[in-house]
């Protein structure tokens, strides 16, 4: 097999399995779904949050409330960047006080996003606990934050790029890693690869 600069590390099936496993782990740890609320970080964390909620409903027949959160207003670098991030709507239409709150994101990297999300959650109330579920943990934390539920651990170097694509907004579904060491001369090869896979019309095959 030729060595490629980009590598697909999860396909649709393995993402599905990871979400199912995480849902079971959440239920096991929290002794059912009654105390739970789920908050997903926009945009793809929110997609995964909704999937976890619907999986929990299939398993336990309990409807868990799902909220969406834009963390950009809580970032520590807002006015250091030239482009202000577009602020999306935060929708937490329930009380978080005394609930076991599952915070969901797609990729866990430096931990700064999660720090911002934790600050924001505390402004909404005091949950009994906050637990973190991520699809991918790629390491390189800059803050003392660790996930409670992980879809897949992927060893990366700091300059690698991890791309998550989900059917809800991307037509295709997979997780892809672009290696920095083998970085091609052309930029955006990862984006090109996404296009190529879209053309082939599928989820790609995991290795």
């Amino acid at each position: 097999m030729p060595k490629s600069k980009t590598e697909i590390v999860m396909d649709k099936k393995s993402i599905d399995r990871a979400v199912t496993r995480i849902s079971h782990e959440i239920l096991e740890k929290n002794d059912g779904a009654e105390s739970l609320v789920i908050i997903g970080i926009l945009t793809r964390g929110a997609d995964i949050a909704k999937r976890i909620a619907s999986r929990i409903k299939e398993i336990e027949r309990v409807e868990v409330q799902v909220g969406l959160m834009d963390i950009n207003l809580y970032r520590d670098d807002v006015h250091h960047k030239l482009d202000q991030p577009i602020i999306q709507r935060t929708e937490i239409l329930f009380d978080v006080v005394d609930r076991n709150l599952i915070l969901v994101d797609d990729v866990l990297f430096t931990g700064r996003t999660i720090r911002a999300a934790l600050d924001q959650i505390i402004d909404f109330g005091r949950p009994r606990s906050i637990q973190l579920a991520v699809l991918i943990d790629r390491g390189h934390r800059e803050l003392p934050i660790r996930p409670d539920y992980v879809g897949k651990n992927i060893p990366t170097s700091k300059d690698d790029r991890v791309l998550v694509r989900l059917l809800e907004r991307d037509e295709v579904e997979f997780v892809l890693v672009e290696k920095s060491g083998l970085k091609p001369k052309k930029k955006n090869s990862a984006k090109k690869k996404v296009k190529k896979i879209k053309k082939a019309g599928g989820g790609g095959k995991a290795k």
Partner: protein, 310 residues
Amino acid sequence: MKLQSRHLLGLEGVTADEISLILDTAESFREIIERPIKKVPTLRGITVLNLFYEPSTRTKISFELAEKRLSADTITFTTSTSSVKKGETLKDTVRNIEAMKINMVVVRHSSSGVPYFLTQCLDSNIINAGDGSHEHPTQALLDLFTIRQKYGKLEGLRVVLIGDVKHSRVVRSNIWGLKTMGVSVAVCGPSTLLPYEVEKFGVDVYTDLDKAIDGADVVNIMRIQLERQQSGLLASQREYTNLFGMTAERLKLLNKNYTVMHPGPMNRGVEITPEVADGKASVVLEQVTNGQAVRMAVLYLLSGKWEEEE
């Protein structure tokens, strides 16, 4: 997507994309003011000066709250308690305050062009909170926001701006903003209070209120300044009320799902009857709430890092 300018001096020349960006951002901020803790840490470390050379209730409090909800540090300067009374010039005043390290200035002044003047002598971002009879951009933005909130769109609607078209900065900013967003605009007022060649704004001009509002969706009623009577522009207050006062009877001429707006402060019984002001089509208080979200959006969008000019 970002704004073209690091200042907001008016809506003249602001593109439809920029206005949409501000309104969409305000939509997200609108939710924050309904939260139990109405505060986000976004503008931590930014200091905003509110420079009010003219009295104001709504705009001043609205800006102050918007700044506080974004965690900015704020100072509010009103001329009555300052060294302006000792004759200090505007330029000296603002340069001295800027020397205490501020980042943004919100300015209200009775002379048109003061916000522009401040961009020439300060490094801060300048936001116009009303200058003379020039513009009041955040008021027009909150009017647009309120209309869009109710109808889900702006394009294709008909809005009538009623009152002192000549002196009103709210009218001027509304015309620019509404026209840019594809709204059909009419102005209506006594001919002494209509500026020369006002039709060049691309608006329909009326001196007969019933004709102006026939088939319109929104009436935005301006405050009539009673001082205008002394300068001879109005014959009498009673005549104005008879010809241009908004009554429940007149509202029947509007489209079914009509809206009544007023930027405040209202002269109840002069340009608007209490019945209309408090009626179910009145969104006057909704305008005030939305104003905060719109001002938060403007502060946020201007607060980013900007490349050095020239």
